[in-house]
Subunit: 263 residues, 2 copies
């Protein structure tokens, strides 16, 4: 069988521990190109660089956390820019799989909309390439290194990636995987996106000259705490959640309601 | 009946012609707060400012294109930041409606994912507020002023906004409206998001020192040119398209496929 080609990015930057762990895991069976931001791009969603040019360079020698077999490129743009640039300027052929992560922090529930990690996954999916985002559920202030994804889970993830690289995913569908903090792999749960709400989103950041400014922060509430079929219910039970995500945002079930609105 | 409160933002900045036209139209029946970026934020999707504080100020006197009855605030952040800041720091009560636009350029098909205009709409929807994005289909290089949204269409749009401000929208559903260039209003079409593909996305931007860099550009292909139920088919026929958009990105139809992937 031909060795699959995997393109990896993230939104924490190529020096993050999570992307290095993911790269090590899948480079055991694949040829890997990492094309990732040159620094933090958290919360950049599917944003693209429209007001300034983007550039990239190959990072040599490789930082310690990367296996010697891979190629690594650092990019000045967003995670979506990384996929677009890699696709047209860097990878030698069509990737069999695009991975994004492992993000330092979950991207469950509505956080999927803000996530640069998942932005890159949507981009891969829009290009027709099987694409998976992987994120680690952590408490605020925790570092990835405090409770890294365990070997057990990395093995299960690697097996899943190998299968998707071979078999693909349904058209216009990508995966949003979230991993609970754990020392063992309890299993996967395919689930839906939980309804959620961010509130209390601004902290004072008044500057030394007295000018008011605000830091984005916030507390998240799972609006379906009793549900047993959502990403957060899976995570709370210690399972790794897999939400199949569609790039078609049409609310088909609402068509009639909206038609009556215009009649 | 109580006068409804409408919060308006965009991703072209508060000085853009499109947001001023939209504000003039709906201020005929509503109390309006405009909280918009202080400059261009095209392509920022649902991104949030996570690495720097955000600030805002009231713009007084109002620029010429705005009606005297409104309040206008300029914000240093993204369109999503504008909604979050307005919600907690600016508007006097819960808005009855959030509007974003009129964007200079369409946000049909998969462009919904990159759009800062639609990012703000998703944010409003996540907060449980009826939210509508409005965009004008233009050719690249055209200015809004070349073929502004006609009075006819603005009237129809105003009537729709008035109805949504009163009746609301289904839970977790917002609207993505695109307007064709036209001198008359032909009608609404409720439709689905067309499948599409962006390609040839990078133009050379090598700098005077010989360092390679790239400008994002691209050509868009509608992958369903024969369809009669998509946003682009509506636009091509001269109709204003309305795609109901869900913030739940779960691909319910793919659940079984993904379950068999992990078994």
């Amino acid at each position: 069988m031909k060795t699959p080609l995997i393109l990896i990015t993230n939104d924490d930057g190529y020096q993050a521990a999570g992307i290095q762990a993911l790269t090590c895991a899948v480079s055991t069976f694949a040829e890997v190109y990492v094309v990732a931001p040159d620094g933090a791009r958290s919360g950049t969603a599917a944003s693209i660089s429209s007001t300034q040019p983007v550039s990239f360079h190959e990072v040599k020698p490789l930082p310690n956390g990367y296996p010697a077999s891979i190629k690594l490129f650092a990019c000045t743009g967003t995670p979506v820019d990384c996929i677009k640039l890699a696709w047209e300027q860097i990878v030698p052929r069509r990737p069999d799989l695009i991975l994004s992560g492992i993000n330092h922090g979950d991207n469950a529930s509505i956080s999927v909309h803000y996530s640069g990690t998942m932005g890159a996954v949507l981009e891969g999916c829009m290009k027709g390439i099987p694409s998976i985002g992987v994120s680690l559920w952590m408490q605020r202030g925790q570092r990835y290194e405090d409770i890294p994804v365990c070997e057990d889970t990395l093995s299960a993830l690697t097996a899943l990636c190998q299968r998707v690289a071979t078999e693909g995913l349904p058209q216009d569908i990508c995966l949003n995987i979230n991993i609970p903090p754990s020392h063992a792999f309890r299993g996967w749960q395919v689930c839906r996106q939980s309804r959620g709400l961010w509130a209390s989103e601004w902290a004072d950041a008044t500057n030394p000259h007295g000018q008011r400014a605000f830091w984005l922060t916030g507390t998240f509430t799972d609006l379906e705490p009793e549900a047993t079929d959502t990403d957060f219910s899976a995570l709370r039970a210690g399972y790794c959640s897999i939400v199949p995500i569609t790039i078609d945002m049409t609310a088909y079930a609402a068509m009639n309601d909206i038609n009556s609105l215009i009649s």
